[in-house]
């Protein structure tokens, strides 16, 4: 009987995982909540298990998922990203139930998930880090520590919740007075949101580039990197566009960063696929940020430029197989860009467009184009999940070729019903700083004109809408 792997996720990443599982000739078990019953990941999987009515709570329910795995005869669980992917208790529960958790062990997840522990591990290994504090002491003592830190490194300073992440629980402090005022507020919020009121400080690196390194580590002591990715184009710390490799011209610096990433992973006894994130300052100094212990949304760009299937290797590593290649076999070829096509209205502060029906879905294709999506024409986007519809990843031999391919694909992509981020990306793909590879984390706010577009921008599009109106009304309602 074929081995079965349960996919504890939904949407595009569930499909991505199912594909790798089936390519390895295993069977994929999907799970779903009721609002997802029209989702395509259920149809593609070999089996599907209804977890409950959700929304979200069942995808987050460790017991239900473990039970579904045992009941369906799965021997392993792949968590994807989000939901339970970086929850050490989930990994631990898998281990306890005799299931293989596809990812690093629960202890690694716990250590790297706790910012302060992670910083300590990296500091011990000599990995460069943004100057910061440990967890601030409670009360006035903590405030005094904070003010001393402010004096030493200068403002602005980030005040972070130790258990926060993904852009949540972070606030920027500009002066002493604010520091005094904000620490108790941040604690209260952190307690409410994460059930942990610990906070710490970090110096702010102004308008850095966000560069990360993909790591693969097997259980035989081999730790490799798959090169860099640039994720600088972000909105409120949420990534929108990812590029591989980084556009930094200094090859020596990039090599150094990759080696540092491997060193960091080794310091953490890392296992399976992970991502080491760095901030690159304008002067070329770089700082460790964190290690993400999951497969990331943007793993596709690395796969495109290296030809290495990260998810396939994740499964093999979890099944105690050695990595079949060495560092020198990892060759970066060309450039890749991934854009997240979301059902959001960028003009309306990226307000989600959930609840709408995809009335037209015409995707693109051709050489060097990869799509990781799950929606189809007629699909009604649930309001209760995230708004990612499809990831478009393009690969080209040169940067120019890659951007040209991106533009062509965005133009050919037709999604009607919900508003999407496509026209917004089209503007970026035509923007000169982007074209010249010159962008950092301030890109979106320093280029406000990329928000200027019209969904029906073409004159003929508007007139076609007018004619449709006449056809619907059977007369010209405006001429009456």
């Amino acid at each position: 009987m074929k081995k079965k792997i349960l996919v504890a996720n939904r949407g595009e990443i569930a499909i991505r995982l199912i594909r790798a599982i089936q390519e390895l000739d295993y069977e994929a078990i999907a799970v779903y909540e009721t609002p997802d019953e029209m989702s395509r990941h259920i149809r593609i999987a070999d089996e599907a298990v209804l977890l409950g009515d959700g929304p979200r709570c069942d995808y987050l329910n460790i017991d239900k998922i473990i039970r579904a795995a045992i009941k369906s005869g799965a021997c392993a669980i792949h968590p994807g990203y989000g939901f339970l992917a970086e929850n050490p208790f989930f990994a631990k529960a898998c281990e306890a139930a005799g299931l293989i958790f596809i990812g690093p062990g629960s202890e690694i997840i716990y250590n790297l998930g706790n910012k302060v522990v992670a910083r300590q591990i990296m500091a011990d290994a000599g990995i460069p880090m943004v100057p910061g504090t440990e967890n601030l002491q409670q009360g006035q003592e903590g405030i005094n520590t904070a003010l001393a830190f402010g004096e030493k490194y200068g403002y602005p300073i980030m005040l972070k919740a130790t258990s926060g992440g993904g852009g949540r629980g972070i606030r920027r402090i500009e002066n002493d007075a604010e520091m005094v005022k904000q620490i108790p507020v941040a604690r209260a919020e952190a307690l409410a949101a994460f059930n942990d009121d610990s906070v710490y400080l970090e110096k702010v690196v102004i308008d850095p580039k966000h560069v990360e390194v993909q790591i693969l580590a097997d259980s035989f002591g081999k730790t490799l990197h798959l090169g860099t990715r640039d994720c600088s184009i972000q909105r409120r710390n949420q990534k929108l566009i990812e590029i591989a490799p980084s556009m930094i011209k200094n090859a020596k610096l990039l090599d150094e960063i990759c080696e540092t990433a491997v060193k960091a992973a080794k310091a953490a006894n890392y296992l399976n696929a992970g991502t080491v994130e760095f901030l690159i300052d304008r002067d070329g100094s770089y700082y460790f940020m964190e290690i993400n212990t999951r497969v990331q949304v943007e793993h596709t760009v690395t796969e495109m430029i290296t030809g290495i299937d990260i998810v396939r290797n994740q499964i093999n590593i979890a099944f105690c197989k050695p990595l079949s290649f060495s560092q020198k076999d990892v060759q970066v070829r060309g450039h890749a860009i991934e854009v997240r096509i979301n059902a959001e209205d960028p003009k309306n502060d990226f307000m989600p467009e959930g609840g709408k029906k995809v009335s037209v879905y015409r995707s693109t294709g051709g050489f060097g184009v990869r799509l990781d999506g799950f929606v189809y024409q007629g699909y009604i986007i649930p309001e209760v999940y995230d708004s990612l519809l499809v990831k478009l990843t393009v690969h080209g031999f040169t940067w120019e070729e890659t951007v040209g391919r991106l533009k062509r694909c965005l133009k050919n992509f037709a999604i009607r019903g919900p508003k999407t981020t496509i026209p917004f990306y089209e503007n970026i793909a035509n923007e000169k700083d982007f074209l010249s590879g010159n962008f950092d984390t301030s890109y979106i706010e320093t280029h406000p004109h990329i928000f200027h577009y019209d969904e029906d921008a073409s004159e003929v599009g508007k007139l076609a809408r007018f004619i449709a109106e006449l056809q619907y009304q059977r007369e010209n309602p405006f001429a009456k």
Binding site: P352, D454, V460, A464, A468, R474
Partner: protein, 634 residues
Amino acid sequence: MTRIVQGTPVKEIVGQLRQAKGYYITNTARDLSQSDFKNRILLHTDLLAAPSREAANYFSLEITGGASIHVDILRKQVDPFLKLRKLREKMPDTMFQTLCRGINLFGYRPYPQNVIRATVREFAKYVDVWRTFDFLNYVPNMIAVFEEVERAGKLNEPCLCFSTGPEHTNDFYLAKAAEIIAVTGEDITLCIKNHGGLGTPVRIGQLVDALKQKYPDVIVHYHGHNTDGNDVGRIVEAVRNGATIVDAADAAFTGFYGPPPILTVVQTLREFGIEPACLNEDAVIETSDVIREERQHYAQFESQIKGFQPTVQIHKLPGGAMGSSLEQASKGGFLDRVSAILHKELPRVQKELGNYWSVTPGSQILWTTAVSNVLDGERYGNPSGDLRNLLLGKYGPFPFYQPEEWIYEKVLGENWREVLKEEGGLEKSADIDLGHERYALAEAIGSEPTDEQLILYLQHPNDAVDYFKFEEKYGQVYVLPPSVFFRQGGFAPGEKIAFRDCHGKEHMIEIGPSPITDTGETSVYETVDHHQVIYTFKAKAVQGVAGSDATLSKEEILDLAQAGDVRSPFSGNIVEITVEEGQEVMVGDRVAIMEAMKMQTPILAEMAGIVTGIIAKKGDALKPGSKILKIDKN
């Protein structure tokens, strides 16, 4: 003789006219459109006619003004300024003419002086000849326009509105002409504005003769309507007695209430040995050949009553108001009473109200009063606000005599003498703050308006904003022919619509099927330049169905919020209500947090006050427009 081209200085234009042998023709396309097609003739048709109209060597083309500015934006969705620019591209030499209602501009009520001046300045960039009138022939009402036209270096054509009756003597009109010339000087063209097509040819001949006797250097331009079928006769007598310019229109579109056909005028005057100055008759014929086919698509806008109306001499309604008045009678279901209104009541009202000139906005006052008198049973029992203003003298003084006291009493009430004393006199609308208006417009359309947009907004604020929004959504629809724009009954599947957009790009839209889904939505399929596009329309609203909770629009939600009725702006769940009943809130305070697709959005108070009722609770799933809480003013 050379033609007068656009851009010629006023002095030279007038000089050339004084030297003219024969007469010039103004092609009155706008008045034709207004009188016989409810102003609906599209720019598309005027652009088709443009090359041959340009070649015809008219004195001018009357193509803007009157009610057309309003109808352009309201019913044809074309920018009146863009229209003039597009025509200018194809007609570089032809002078464009407008019809301006003096203090009432292109509308129906007096505008503030600074609005009048700004409007004239903006339009004068495109308009060469300014025909200006006042329905009471009250010269002060026209002075602002005269001054701005002169300042812009354009030609003033002041009007003597013409009518008939014992008071309408040559002496009266000569005195009016003197009053006008005292303001403008003699470098003008003076219009005899015979909007009703009143009087006999002999009467018109006498008036022109009297004017030319007294002012041999003043150019007379005769404007008439063919409502009784005899305007050619009046034109002939006008020209024989010294008029230099006359109005006529393209035969292919002539009807009953507008100007007569150009060639009929030419052929008739030829009998008397009078030739038109540099008219290209072949081009006149060609124009009608080019646009003849288009007329069928305007049939729905032609008058409900067809045929000449010799009785106009009794009711005196102007040609420009015939179509709309009869449409009103048709829609109001009183076509059978029209004869009684036109032939009995209207002449009576006209006399009672001072026998002034039945033209906008005065003609509307007469018509509305007559209709109300007949339909409501009690004469002057239901006076309109405009009639009240007329009696109060807001538009200007009565030219001949005042209505009898009983009418004042009916309209203004028993204490009418006091009302007249307190409220009477010319409407003096103070200048408005144009900066403030510009800001209001920017708010309404979401971008900095152009000067032209501001001018249109000042004329008709709501309709202009609607038009700007229409244009943003549907583009420049003037490129579509009347066969598409005015299509009734929809398009046949497979029908192909080819057009060139406003940028000159050619497109082809093929109509596909329009199925209705099981939820009642209509999907309209089109193939647009070889790409399939689908437009989905909501099920047509069924009225009176209980429980159908229509979701509110963004604007409605904001309006309610500003009144203290806080609604959900999108579909999502309540994460938290962050205020308590009885709590005081300021504008911008967070009152709730909502979440949709994992994103949290604060809901802010749009009005300061006290929270008086919390309707939604944590965890509730809301639709756009669902109630969250109420804020009451302190």
